[in-house]
Symmetry: C2
Subunit: 462 residues, 2 copies
């Protein structure tokens, strides 16, 4: 009855219930989470989304919104009950408008991130949101998880790029908040509620995004440093000298470089001699290379860096970034690994890495920590490779115990157990141990107020 009504709303071609079509939508690409659904609907308009939510609300049936299904925390797949309707936003993929002079664009939730980047580029503008999954993730999902990525240091997270939203609420009403205002103090800023809520408070159907001037004179450098603490000092100095020109600042341990060079074809050390830690940074704007070169020179003279290279051309820059992006793949080829996407205050990164490494090494001697990431934002991917000689399954079985140890270290520095991947199902329960009962109470109050019958993505976040 409900299913027939849903099929009628979206029309032929707008739904699927056969296993072959459904399969890629029912589990995450890491296969950590999978579920079942009686029906996937793929509406092509906000009105259809509204009608779907109204029908489901009337029937008391749960809805799981899904974008590109590139999440890592099980936030966009249904549970195993086979009762939750899967709402794919993939067909809502129109770019509604691009305004060059206003530095804004209006996009629907199902637009692929890379498509949006290209549309901005076409009018000589820049959308700074950039992450590994950009070729298949959808902007609705990026906003629902408040995605981070490589340009947060300069441009902020996905939240900071949003000027307006269109959202279908839990009762099916459409909230049209598609404004493109840079200043607006007329009442509560409702769009903030839905960003990062992982589809549990409303379904984002469209957004007005901020665009930026295209970065010019992009420069990439690779520095050898003695410790994460030195890297933090380098970061502060570089920010002082280059200000907003500093766009990315990534910390990489030597072990990561070693894994990459060992497992990934055609990769080689940028600096022949091995140093304990490296920084990969990117700057742009200003008058370009001279500024960066001068700054790096003065850092080196002050003993903050042990060696420095600046990419001489685009190809060299890309080779440096390829190294960085290959770390996860190389680590996989090295055996099982346990991953933790966490954040701490920037100036606590060194102490956090040391404390967490000590603690996990005490629990399992010979684990191999590979802590890297967007250190300019305090975001560490604290990944741990299995000890040499262990069976993978034995190491994976330690997942919960190790996670607890890492998160305890995170908490002791006032950090977050999820920096940029969200909560989903993965961290829903453990979140309760790391946020105060008052904060969890506030979250539940919000959920209850906006989705009183609990039909929007139940079992996620709160």
């Amino acid at each position: 009855m409900l299913l027939d009504r849903l099929k009628e709303i979206v029309g032929p071609g707008g739904w699927a219930d056969d296993e072959e079509t459904l399969q890629p939508h029912l589990s995450e690409w890491r296969d950590s989470y999978s579920g079942r659904t009686p029906l996937m609907v793929s509406p092509s308009s906000t009105t259809q989304v509204s009608e779907i939510v109204k029908a489901c609300a009337a029937a008391g049936t749960a809805i799981v919104p899904q974008g590109g299904n590139t999440g890592l925390c099980g936030g966009a797949v249904p549970d195993s009950s086979n009762t939750q309707v899967l709402l794919s936003l993939a067909k809502m993929n129109r770019i509604r408008s691009v305004s060059r002079n206003d530095f804004t664009m209006e996009v629907e939730a199902g637009c692929i991130l890379a498509t949006i980047q290209a549309a901005a580029e076409e009018v000589d503008r820049f959308l700074p949101l950039s992450l590994a999954a950009e070729g298949s993730c959808q902007i609705g999902g990026n906003l629902s998880t408040n995605a981070g990525g490589i340009n947060v240091l300069r441009y902020g997270t996905a939240r900071d790029l949003v000027l307006g939203l269109e959202v279908v609420l839990a009762d099916g009403d459409i909230w049209d908040g598609m404004r493109s205002l840079r200043k607006d103090t007329s009442g509560y800023d409702m769009k903030q509620l839905f960003i990062g809520a992982e589809g549990t408070l409303g379904v984002i159907t469209a957004a007005t995004l901020r665009l930026f001037p295209k970065p010019r004179n992009r420069q990439t450098a690779f520095l050898a440093v003695g410790s994460p603490s030195d890297a933090i000092d380098v970061l502060a100095r570089m920010r002082e000298e280059l200000s907003d020109q500093l766009q990315a600042f990534e910390l990489i341990p030597d072990r990561a470089i070693r894994f990459v060079c060992q497992h990934i074809p055609n990769s080689r050390r940028p600096i022949e001699k091995a140093y304990p830690w490296y920084v990969l940074l990117e700057a742009s704007g200003g008058s370009g290379s001279d500024d960066l070169q001068d700054s790096l020179m003065s850092l080196h003279e002050d003993g903050l860096t042990q060696d420095v290279i600046i990419a001489k051309n685009e190809a060299e820059a890309m080779a440096l970034w390829r190294l960085r992006h290959a770390i996860s793949e190389a680590q996989k080829l090295e055996g099982a690994s346990l991953k933790h996407d966490v954040s701490v205050p920037v100036n606590a990164i060194d102490r956090f890495i040391a404390a967490a490494e000590d603690a996990v090494s005490a629990a399992i001697p010979d684990v191999r920590v590979v802590a890297f990431g967007h250190v300019g934002d305090g975001n560490v991917h604290f990944n741990i490779s299995q000890p040499v000689g262990w069976r993978s399954a034995d190491f994976v079985a330690e997942r919960d115990r190790i996670a607890r140890i890492v998160y305890d270290a995170v908490a002791s520095f006032g950090g977050s157990i999820s920096a940029e991947h969200g909560i989903g199902q993965l961290k829903k329960d453990i979140l309760c141990d790391y946020r105060s009962s008052i904060e969890l109470g506030l979250m539940r109050t919000l959920k209850k107020a906006l989705d009183p019958n609990g039909i929007l993505n139940p079992g996620k976040v709160v």
Copy 2:
């Protein structure tokens, strides 16, 4: 009974009920709003705020939080019932910590904005929030109204500067959200709720703020342009060429310059010849003056500007900013004026100014529009001076009719009836005509969920 309990909580010196002490707290500086209170309490700790709110909640008594009382919309003064307790945050004025390497500081709500700026400066850092009232406004109020000011183009509004908050909720519970994380996707981002809520959802008692590198090589320029439309083109070109170096971009009509030169001693035209419009802009960073000079030169060659001067030193730059800041004062000396703090999309500014000027001139011929403001953010102060020869009182009597005309024009361009001053009492009722019933419904849902008994700043915003 309640009042005795409140006095006991804050102790001697922590409260006042005599007219002389209360008087400056009971009306706004423009005297637009005034009210009465049986008691003003000035707690000196978050715990005291919590106890006050608990006591008031138990008694069902309303609380009006107040910072520096520099608002313009009646958001921080009690009503005339003489029943609302006034909660001054002024004594909570400690800077809890400043971290140079983390680029953050922790401040209590009652800290004066200028004090915070100075504390950042002391460690060679920069807090970009800057506005006319900075010598007396308090950060709690700035955050509660999501203040704007002169640096929004580059650094965003007050909201964008907040990493963490400490808030006393409507039941007196203290939510400790004093994190200093740049990335955090662990559940709903609760701090967003309280920023810009004008004390109606909770009482902000402290905040963790983001700091920035100090801008270097600050350059100020004054350009003559033919129209607001040309100014928008100049803005786009400058953003392309200078990127984040562009820090402020203010549009000024010739009438404003005329008023200032006529009424303010020691002021003179920066460019001797009169042009219809001017742009005052500031850039910083990069290698400084050369970049700006090159950009301005190329704009001039392309016919986008009619004349250009660059301040040769700090004194000349200050003289240009003094002109800009003197507009309100000069306009006051020219007679009564009706003011409208509004925003529209940046690329609609020219059309909005033209349409609104046409509409108000049709209603009252010979009004003198002075539309100026932070045009880089789409924020126009659409002020209107009385026609020559009118009595002030007659013009002021037109306030509501004119406001309606201006706001209708704002709405037709998808703008906001309050860009940076908030809603308070001033725009509470009229907001209902310019926001959808669905959006107003969402706001009321939120208010009801977080303050079910309506004791926090009732009668404001929603």
